[in-house]
Amino acid sequence: MFKFLFKRLLVLVPVFFGVTLVAFGFIRALPGDPVEVLAGERGVTPERHAELMAQLGFDKPMWQQYLSYVGDVLQGDLGTSLITNRPVVEEFFELFPATAELGLCAILFAILLGIPAGIIAAVKRGSFVDQGIMSLSLVGYSMPIFWWGLLLIILFSNTLNLTPVSGRLSFLFDVEPVTGFMLVDTLLSDEEGSFWNALHHLVLPSVVLGTIPLAVIARQTRSAMLEVLSEDYVRTAKAKGLSPVRVIAVHALRNAMITVITVIGLQVAVLLAGAILTETIFGWPGIGKWIIFSVFSRDYFAVQGGLLLIAVSVMAVNLIVDLLYGLINPRILH
């Protein structure tokens, strides 16, 4: 187990350097620089421009800038945002819990609905139910997030008046951020009704963000189940006279799960991409929105730092998935 973990961690070292290089290069490859973008129509004199760029260290050769960036990162310093003058790490971790909370709820929604739907489709293969589930999942997979989000807001928030339009919590509640996870913070606070309000705010964004993963998980579960259901050991289990529920839940599902978990792990990257749009639509104060804003304003340090931290969290999730794998199928550890 430890050897496995060690090997996995070792692989992350080159990945880490790759990510720093990409994050560093990407934002600099975009035309325009922070000083110019900020000045806008007003313009900035070449002298002042040079002075400000030098102040920020952008006048040095690229390789020197990169080395000092990596040096700082290794010491845990991701720099200061050019826009807000606050440490990038501080900004990131202020916003990250919102994205994590939304992502967790979305993936939970996708798993809770996707796996059963996939199983039913597999068991009732070729039936009307199967075709219905598969067509719906195709629709879900191809759904443009922005359109889907607005549609749900118009229907549930305005026409039916069932959910709030956007935000994480009504302004009526003044909850002190402790963990940054609104569901936890509202439970910790003494503001009555705030937990329900926070949960209420989570419904639509989770559904929107979870739609694509839901479709993928349902399809993946179905095909994995179909494969497993035709295996000899399942036939044997059936022949032994076990109940169909036991055959599916114990013998088939556990083996089908290996592929499904890989797919769930891969959805993390999809979730983060989807978070950018979902957070914009629902006014969700997370890192997706923040990173887009930072790119537009050419906030070099925020983009570099933000992308790196996002990459690290994706790597962490993938590592956890790999470990989970081992638990389900111990053969992989060897």
């Binding site: 973008v37 129509e41 313009g43 003058n85 202020e94 919102a98 309000n197």
Partner: protein, 529 residues
């Protein structure tokens, strides 16, 4: 479950009106502030959240106009040569008490010195705090302008200038000139938390800062001891909502009272909504097409006039602005004093334009039109605008290619004069005509690149310089009116449009005024029914 949901949603629906005992106004702002010290930043979003709520300036703009009225200064006088300005300060002005700071004295001249010296003097202990880049202070050339700032007594301050600059008083009303607390500065310096002055603001304004959650919400409470009288609104909330569609949905659902920057496509529906009062005002801006007058044939006045006549501005207004704009004939918008309404614009006349081009000896002209890659209030769709101009010019035998770059690159290259003709615009800073004409059309700007037409007309320039030296507004008006006549005759630009700013406000809000400078002000008579 269904019942719980319904009960909850009813609770939410009533959220805005339900909190009747404490009057809470919710503003669905369009973004997060960069910080809470307006002198360091440049976005209107930041100013709304800081200077307009938390701070005051020596002089201020009257709500809903660009007229300068007393603020922290009760009165001011200028010397005859326009080089000295003496401000008499208001007495009994209280600073905010927050959880980190309790003021022990009222506002006085030390606060003015602290505020301006921080921006101006590089050896000031606070100069380098939070990056030390004071954007508007630099853009308004305050560093070159100021000679000295003196405290005459506790309630009198004298500013001496290096040269006469009539817009100086208007500059003092701008957001960057918001007055901080010197006492708070000392307290923070002593505890080693200087940066807090820009993130945990203490001012004299109508609202007190309570809390800020990035990208989510800013909370304020009324300042009980405000010198101008306590605000009618007890609690002010900025619910940060970046998407315009969502802002509108929130407004409809009653989750906010006021929203900025609606989608042009939603304006018609808002106008019909019985719960919404759609306010409008001509924006303090101008969208234009500048000819590069250094490049032939645009160095000829006749050609510039002809190309002016060849453009059907009304169709641009209909297509690009969808009615949310007005045709511009002067380089300044009609909301600015000295706007010369007697100036006659070039009529749309392709036949005459063609004849004039022939007269100038221009046949088969091939040129380019630069179109901005971004949306701006003065130009919601530059690409479309360029296409319309291209089609209009084709009718008079001018073949134009549309060119575009990424925004930063666009600004840089057009500043260097690489274009033949370029679409751009300007939004005013202080409501002074100088802030449009000198910045965009003066000879200095032709050298530095801000003047995209690279047009330097001696008569025009000397008129503007003369107007800078005089403090009497009537005399200045006459000069600016003359300058507008010269400008129209010389035609360095095609003046295209001034946009109309729409501000949807829920019916329960009373006394809200649309501010020509774009700020959102929730004081000065704003109330909730």
């Amino acid at each position: 479950m269904k019942k719980t949901l319904l009960a909850l949603s009813l609770g939410l629906g009533l959220a805005v009106s339900g909190a009747a005992q404490a009057k809470t106004l919710v503003f669905c702002s369009e973004g997060s502030p960069e910080g809470f010290n307006p002198s360091l930043y440049s976005a209107g979003t930041t100013f709304d959240a800081s200077s307009q709520t938390l701070f005051n300036r020596l002089v201020q703009f009257e709500a809903g106009s660009t007229k300068v009225v007393p603020g922290l200064a009760e009165s001011w006088t200028a010397s005859a040569d326009g080089l000295e300005y003496t401000f008499k300060l208001r007495k009994g002005v209280k600073y905010h008490t927050t959880k980190d700071f309790t003021p022990t004295r009222d506002f006085n001249a030390d606060d003015i010195l602290f505020t301006f010296n921080r921006m101006w003097k590089e050896d000031h202990p606070y100069h380098d705090v939070s990056g030390g880049d004071y954007k508007y202070f630099g853009w308004m050339s305050m560093g070159d302008l100021l000679k000295s700032i003196e405290k005459v007594d506790d309630y009198t301050v004298k500013f001496t200038l290096n040269y006469a600059e009539a817009p100086f008083v208007s500059n003092m009303a701008m957001d960057f000139a918001s007055v901080l607390s010197a006492e708070y500065g000392d307290v923070l310096a002593a505890s080693g938390n200087k940066e807090d002055i820009d993130h945990k603001p203490v001012g004299t304004g109508p609202f007190v800062f309570k809390s800020y959650q990035k990208d989510a919400m800013i909370r304020y409470t009324a300042h009980d001891d405000y010198w101008g009288g306590r605000s009618n609104i007890d609690k002010l909330v900025f619910a940060i909502t970046t998407d315009a569609n969502v802002r509108y949905q929130k407004m409809k659902a009653g989750e906010c009272h006021v929203m900025p920057y609606p989608n042009p496509a939603d304006v018609a529906a808002m106008d019909k909504d019985p719960d919404i009062n759609l306010m409008r005002q001509e924006g303090l801006n101008v969208g234009y097409l500048a000819f590069n007058t250094e490049k032939p044939p645009f160095d000829q006045k006749l050609v510039r006039q002809a190309l002016n006549m060849a453009i059907n501005k009304q169709s641009i207004l209909d297509v690009v602005f969808k009615g949310a704009g007005s045709v511009a004939k002067n380089p300044i918008p009609p909301t600015i004093w000295s706007y010369n309404d007697d100036v006659k614009d070039y009529d749309y006349d392709p036949a005459k334009a063609k004849a004039m081009l022939a007269e100038a000896g221009v046949v088969g002209l091939k040129t380019n039109i630069w179109a901005m890659p971004v949306q701006r209030p003065y130009n919601p769709n530059a690409r479309r605008m360029a296409e319309l101009i291209q089609a209009d010019w084709a009718k008079v035998g001018v073949e134009a290619e549309i060119v575009t770059f990424e925004w930063g690159e666009y600004l840089k290259r057009s500043k260097n004069g690489e274009h033949d003709t370029v679409l751009l615009g300007w939004t005013g800073d202080n409501g002074d005509p100088d802030n449009f004409m000198y910045v965009l059309l003066g000879c200095d700007a032709a050298k530095s690149g801000g003047n995209r037409a690279r047009w330097c007309n001696e008569e025009f320039d000397s008129t503007l310089r003369q107007a800078k030296q005089i403090t009497d507004q009537a005399e200045r008006t006459a000069l600016y009116e003359k300058a507008q006549v010269i400008f129209k005759e010389e035609a360095p630009w095609v003046t295209i449009a001034h946009s109309v700013v729409f501000k949807p406000v829920r019916k329960e809000v009373t006394g809200f005024k649309v501010h020509p400078l774009g700020s959102h002000i929730f004081y000065d008579g704003v109330d909730l029914k």
